[in-house]
């Protein structure tokens, strides 16, 4: 059930176009999907994918269900993301997420000398330290990271700010400025544009956990060991620094999203997307 490693797929060839389409559908000024499916104007509200799984101290079952009902599109989105990831890998993160897509595409417009390389920092401990507090702090009633520090709130408002004053106001607050700083430093200025996704996105963290479980049918990026020469070209293009190169390249499924840049970069055709044989 392997794939043809020499022919890039449609999703691989048109990733930039798909991401751009996602920006138009989810983000201002158009936000077509948001407006078509809810009375909201951005990803906060019905489409919020982050708040519903934050259980607050003392919350009853009714409150939890009520929270899910309030953001039912966000719930559906996260369930769909996790199910898709189980079988196909993290395609939401790599091809569809308007938030990660915005920082990656925006980052491509910036010159290389401005870029910060975060690949020296192991992403998983940061990500799961953040996720642990994200889930536990509200549960034990000592605070919350939800809403105050939110990429799904910041990026839509960054796109909306030139058009709508309410979106501009978002950034004239301490929390707004911190969010903006995080998106710039870990997003637009990060090499590959995905350091925020890799460190601080709770959806990405859950998605990465699911990505670890693949079974027989799960498709993931993988290295054909006997073809790999360990040249390291794949590592250089990986936006989530998910590839370690020793004698041969090895892909960490906890950080990999199938952007397939490594597949394109590999001169030996040693990296492919598919099921494990």
């Amino acid at each position: 059930m392997g794939n043809d490693a020499t022919k890039p797929s449609f999703l691989s060839r048109h990733r930039t176009g798909i991401l751009l389409g996602s920006l138009l559908l989810f983000l201002p000024p158009l936000a077509v999907i948001i407006q078509a499916t809810s009375a909201d104007v951005d990803l906060c509200g019905t489409w919020c994918p982050r708040m519903f799984f934050v259980v607050r101290n003392g919350a009853g079952i009714g409150e939890i269900i009520g929270g899910m009902a309030r953001s039912y599109m966000g719930v559906a989105l996260v369930v769909a993301i996790l199910l898709t990831t189980l079988f196909l890998g993290r395609y939401w993160c790599s091809h569809l997420c308007p938030v990660g897509g915005a920082t990656e595409l925006g980052g491509r417009l910036l010159p290389r000398f401005l870029k910060i390389d975060y690949s020296g920092i192991p992403a998983a401990p940061v990500r799961y330290g953040y996720l642990a507090v994200y889930l536990a702090a509200p549960l034990i009633g000592i605070g919350s990271l939800c809403c105050s520090y939110c990429n799904f709130a910041t990026i839509p408002r960054l796109f909306g700010a030139p058009f709508v004053e309410a979106d501009m106001i978002y950034f004239f607050r301490t929390a707004g400025l911190i969010n903006l700083g995080l998106m710039v430093a870990l997003g637009f200025l990060a090499r590959g544009g995905r350091a925020y996704c890799n460190f601080l996105c709770p959806i990405g963290a859950l998605d990465a956990l699911v990505s670890r479980f693949r079974g027989r049918f799960g498709r993931r990026m993988q290295v054909t060991a006997d073809r790999c020469t360990g040249c390291g070209q794949c590592r250089a293009v990986c936006p989530t620094w998910a590839i370690e190169v020793g004698e041969r390249a090895a892909i960490d499924q906890l950080s990999c999203m199938p952007c397939r840049e490594c597949e394109k970069a590999c001169p030996e055709g040693a990296i492919r997307y598919g099921t494990s044989d």
Binding site: V41, Y130, F172
Partner: protein
């Protein structure tokens, strides 16, 4: 290598805990519903506007059967001015009904509508700085200095007594209060821990 991962994990937890527990009191978010008979935001919005601007974000859903026009007023906060900005789509598609906002009044609110209002509070007399947003076309200024002053006129008996600073939504016709968001102003010391 493993030790480094553990150290980084602990650092990430410590920093995240700090971020989760510390509140910046220059903004607060309150959720509520606009409904006949009135409602109240569950917690007061804690704000510090003494050192400059503070932003109150109010999001609310219109609960059936209410429909009508609603005026938004800041009450019981002498010494503060406020400007209101309604969150709207940059390009408005006709998929859903959206109430218009002008002159601190939401017009044509219908069941299941949602409103998101950004209210910027400043100490009265503060001169606008370069850091502030440009004059707003969809913004509404309000300047209420006394308890209840500036609230809608007519049928005053239907207005509950104001016991402290609050942002209130009143039905324009009946003067009935639809939603109240209590505000608690805190001192110059700024941030506080959650739950305090």
């Amino acid at each position: 290598m493993k030790t480094a991962h553990i150290v980084i994990f602990v650092l990430a937890v410590a920093l995240s805990l700090l971020a989760a527990t510390y509140r910046f009191n220059d903004s607060a978010h309150a959720m509520g519903v606009l409904k006949k008979g009135g409602s109240m935001a569950r917690h007061p919005a804690v704000l510090n506007s003494r050192d400059g601007r503070a932003t109150l974000i109010v999001t609310a859903r219109v609960v059936p059967p209410y429909r009508g026009d609603a005026r938004v007023v800041l009450e019981g906060a002498p010494g503060h001015t406020c400007t209101m900005y309604n969150a709207e789509p940059a390009v408005r598609f006709p998929f859903h009904h959206r109430p218009a906002f002008a002159g601190s009044v939401y017009s044509d609110l219908r069941p299941h509508d949602k409103v998101a209002l950004w209210v910027v509070l400043k100490p009265a007399g503060e001169v606008a700085t370069a850091a502030g947003p440009p004059p707003a076309s969809d913004a509404t200024d309000c300047c209420l200095t006394g308890e209840g002053e500036g609230a809608p006129v007519g049928a005053p008996s239907r207005r509950p007594r104001v016991s402290g600073p609050q942002l209130a939504f009143y039905d324009l016709k009946s003067n009935e209060r639809l939603l109240a968001v209590p505000i608690r102003f805190v001192g110059r010391e700024g941030g506080e821990r959650h739950g305090k």
